[in-house]
Symmetry: C2
Subunit: 437 residues, 2 copies
C-alpha cells in the first residue's frame, strides 16, 4: 500500500467516517499540506484552545517503548513543566516520525512547538507535539515552518465539521479512512458537554511508519490530576486493549485537553460526577480505538475478545491480550475455522498474576454472533469440557460475520476485560512485506 492509495473512498470509509457533527466549544483546528508527504495531501494539523475563562488541563499517555521519539520526549517535558495546566495547542505532522533522530530531532520538535507558542503569544511552552511517519529521518523544518505559518496567516482555523475532518485526515499515514469521533453527553447534574477525538493507526506501518496517535478534547473543566487519572483509566481499557500485530511504536501517544468552556463546577477526583465522566470518556475512547482495529492492515474481521468473571482485572486483560495477539487465533479467524484449541492454547500460555484466576474445570469458551441472529451463543468449551457436537454450520455462519465476539468465562470472580482485534490475512503480509518488491 502506498500513500497514493490512502483515504480512497472505500466501503470502510463510508461505514466509519461521519458526515456531520457538533464539536466542543472553544477549540479551533487547522490543517495544511506542508509537502512533507510527497503525494501532497494534508500532513500538518494544529489544534488551539481559544477559551480564556479557564486554565485548561492536559494529560497524556505515552509509549513505553525505550526508544521514545523526540516529540514524545518533548511533550513529556512540557507537561511536567506546566504540571498539566495551560496547554493550549497540539501540533501534529504525518510523513516523518522524528524518531531516532538524536539531539537534532529534539531541537526540531522544540522549534515546531515554539513556532506555535509564538503565534499564540505564549510566554512558556504550552504546545504538545505529535509526529508519525518514517523513522530515522529528520523533519523537513523548512516545510513544517512554512506550513505552520500558512495555517495561521491564511486564518484557516475553524470549528466546523470540515475543519475537524481535515485535521483528522492530516494525521493519517497508511490509514484507509480518517478516524474522527464526536459525541454529546449529559451528566447526572444536567450539564451537557462534548467529546471530540481523532486517532490514526493501525499497527506499525510500511516502510518505517510508526505509531498509534490520538487525541481527545472536551469543553468540560476537569482538574489536571483528575484528567490524568481519567485518561489513564480510559486508555487501559481502549487504546491499550487493541491488537493489530502486537508491535508498539516509538511514537505512540494519546493526548487529552479539557478547556472548561462549558460553565460548570470543575471536576475533581472528589466530584460526584467524576466516575460518570470517567466512564463516558472510557466508552468514547473505546469507540475511537475500535476504529483503529477496523482499519487494521489487511483486516477482514473485527473481533471482540471478552474475558469475564475473572478473579482479577489484570488477569482478564492478560488473557484477552494473549488471545488477541495469537497469530494462530488470528489466522484461524481469517480462515473461518472454529478452532477453539488455539484459543485455549493462548489462554494457557498467558502470563497470569495469580493461578487462582484460571481453573480448567470452570472455563467456558464461546463464539458470539453480533448480528442478532440465533442462537447468539455457540458454546465450544463448557466447564473445561470440549463440546463434541458443535453445530459446524452455525459455527461457519458466525465466523463468516465481519463482526463477532470470542467470549471467555473464567468463573473465578467478577472482573472483566475486553480486547479488540482483527484477523491476520494475506493482505497484511502483502502490505508489510512487499513494499519494495
Amino acid at each position: 500500500m502506498r500513500f497514493s492509495s490512502v483515504l480512497k473512498q472505500s466501503a470502510k470509509y463510508a461505514a466509519h467516517v461521519p458526515k456531520s457533527g457538533v464539536f466542543p466549544q472553544g477549540f479551533q483546528v487547522g490543517s495544511v499540506a506542508s509537502g512533507v508527504k510527497k503525494n501532497g495531501t494534508l500532513d500538518l494539523g494544529i489544534l488551539v484552545n481559544t477559551n480564556k475563562s479557564y486554565e485548561s488541563s492536559a494529560a497524556s499517555v505515552f509509549t513505553t517503548n525505550k526508544f521514545k521519539a523526540a516529540p514524545v520526549i518533548l511533550s513529556q517535558r512540557v507537561l511536567e513543566e506546566k504540571k498539566g495546566k495551560g496547554i493550549n495547542a497540539i501540533v501534529v505532522n504525518s510523513g516523518c516520525a522524528n524518531s531516532v533522530t538524536g539531539e537534532i530531532g529534539l531541537k526540531d520538535a522544540s522549534q515546531m512547538a515554539k513556532l506555535i507558542d509564538e503565534k499564540l503569544g505564549a510566554t512558556s511552552s504550552s504546545t504538545l507535539i505529535m509526529s508519525t511517519g518514517v523513522i530515522g529521518q529528520r523533519l523537513q523544518m523548512d516545510k513544517i515552518s512554512k506550513g505552520i505559518s500558512k495555517i495561521f496567516t491564511d486564518n484557516s482555523f475553524g470549528s466546523d465539521f470540515n475543519s475537524w475532518l481535515n485535521i483528522a485526515k492530516s494525521i493519517c499515514t497508511t490509514d484507509t479512512f480518517p478516524k474522527l469521533v464526536t459525541s454529546n453527553f449529559t451528566m447526572n447534574n444536567g450539564t451537557q458537554y462534548t467529546l471530540t477525538g481523532m486517532a490514526k493507526g493501525a499497527g506499525m506501518i510500511c516502510p518505517n511508519m510508526a505509531t498509534l496517535l490520538g487525541f481527545i478534547v472536551t469543553d468540560l473543566p476537569i482538574e489536571s490530576q483528575a484528567l490524568s487519572k481519567m485518561l489513564r483509566y480510559a486508555t487501559d481499557r481502549s487504546f491499550n486493549c487493541i491488537s493489530v500485530d502486537g508491535d508498539m511504536s516509538t511514537n505512540d501517544t494519546i493526548n487529552m485537553i479539557a478547556n472548561g468552556a462549558v460553565k460548570t463546577d470543575e471536576i475533581t477526583e472528589d466530584s460526584p460526577e467524576f466516575l460518570q465522566v470517567r466512564d463516558q470518556v472510557t466508552q468514547f475512547a473505546q469507540k475511537l480505538a475500535q476504529l483503529v482495529v477496523r482499519d487494521g492492515e489487511g483486516a477482514t474481521k473485527f473481533v471482540t475478545v471478552k474475558v469475564q468473571n475473572s478473579s482479577t482485572f489484570a488477569d482478564a486483560r492478560t488473557i484477552a491480550e494473549s488471545i488477541s495477539n495469537s497469530m494462530l487465533v488470528k489466522t484461524a479467524l481469517y480462515g473461518k475455522d472454529a478452532n477453539w484449541g488455539r484459543i485455549l492454547c493462548a489462554i494457557g500460555y498467558a502470563k497470569l498474576e495469580t493461578l487462582d484466576s484460571l481453573q480448567t474445570d470452570k472455563l467456558n469458551v464461546s463464539f458470539i454472533a453480533t448480528d442478532n441472529s440465533e442462537p447468539r451463543e455457540l458454546k465450544l468449551l463448557v466447564n473445561g469440557v470440549p463440546q463434541l457436537n458443535i453445530d459446524e454450520e452455525r459455527a461457519s455462519q458466525i465466523l463468516a460475520l465481519p463482526d463477532l465476539e470470542v467470549l471467555v468465562d473464567l468463573g473465578t470472580g467478577n472482573e472483566e476485560a475486553q480486547f479488540w482485534t482483527c484477523d491476520l490475512s494475506h493482505e497484511y503480509v502483502t502490505i508489510n512485506g512487499d513494499y519494495r518488491s
Copy 2:
C-alpha cells in the same frame, strides 16, 4: 497443507535429512502405522533402552502452558515417582494430542505406557509418553494398542539408520521433513559417546495440531540430577530460543535418556567433564531446534538473531525473543526490506529485567551475511546513530539470502543470547488460515 503432502521429498528434505548415521549403543527403536493418522503413514514409535549394566537416567522439560495434555501430566508423574532413574522407554504417537481430554485422557495415556511396561517386564511405570496431533479428541486406544503389540510381536525394533529415520518420521504431523540428528563426541578424557535426537514442529499446526516434541538419547552414564541440569541449560539455549509464531502448545516436551552403555565414570555435576558434555548437548540441541525453524510453516528464510555484549543473559534473551517474534520484523524479512526501524522498535518494547542492559547511545544493529560474501557486516545503527548512507544494493543481497543474521550489540556487558526465527510469509497464512476453505 494436508497430511498427504507431508514428507514429500522437497528441497528442504534433501538438505536437512541425513542419509546415514551412527547411533548410541543400547537403544532400539521401532515404529508402525497404527491407523490413527488417516493417510496410513507412520504414527506410532517406541524407543527402548536395552542396556542393563547401568540404571538409566532421564530428564524432561515440559510446556509451561496451564493446559497440560494427558501425556505431559503422566510423564511428569512417572519422572517424579522414579526420581529420574530407570526410565527405559519412550512411546510417541502423532495424529492425536490427547489434550483437553480430562480423566479419560489420563487413563488412555496411562494405558499406553502400561502396555509397554508389560512388554518390557517392568514392575513399575518406566515409560515416558508423548503425543501430538488434534486437541480435544480421544486417543483411539484400539489402534494404539494393536500398534504397540505389532511393534513388539513383529520384532520390528532395530538400531540401524532406517529404524531411527522411521521413528523420526512417526512423530511428524505437518512437518515437511523428519528431524533426525546424530553425532559422535569425544570428551577431554578420550571417551567417545553418541547423541541422537529427533524433533517435530513447527509452530502450532492446522487444524488443531499441536506441539514441539523432541527427545535426545545418549550412551553416556549421567547422574539424573546432572542430566536434568544439562537438559534445562541446553533447552533454554535451543528449543526455548526458536520462534515460528510465538504460540506454545499444551504438549511441548523435550525428553532425554542417558543409558550408560559407554563404560566410563558416571558424570555428575562435580565431574570435570560436566561442563564439556553440557555444552556439547547444548550445541546438539541447537542443531535439532534449528531444524524446527527451517521447517517453519511457510518459512522462506532462516534468521539467527544474536544479541551480544549485554549486561545480563536474561535481557539479551528477551531482546532476541522480542525481535524474533515481531510480526513486523518477520514480514520485513519476507519482503527483503532492510527495515532497521522495526528491529529497533522490537528492542524498545522488550520487557527487560534491568534498564542498565539497554542504553541507546551504545546500541549497534547490523545485518550479517552468512554465505562468506563480503562485506560480511552491514551496519544499520552505530552507537545509537542510524547510518544514513546504507549500501542498499548490499542490503538487498544479504536479505535475499536464505540464511542470514541480525546482530544486536548492546555494549553494556559481556553476556550473549541467540534466537532462531523465520520470516512470516503468505504461505504461513494459507497453511494456518485456509484449512477448511
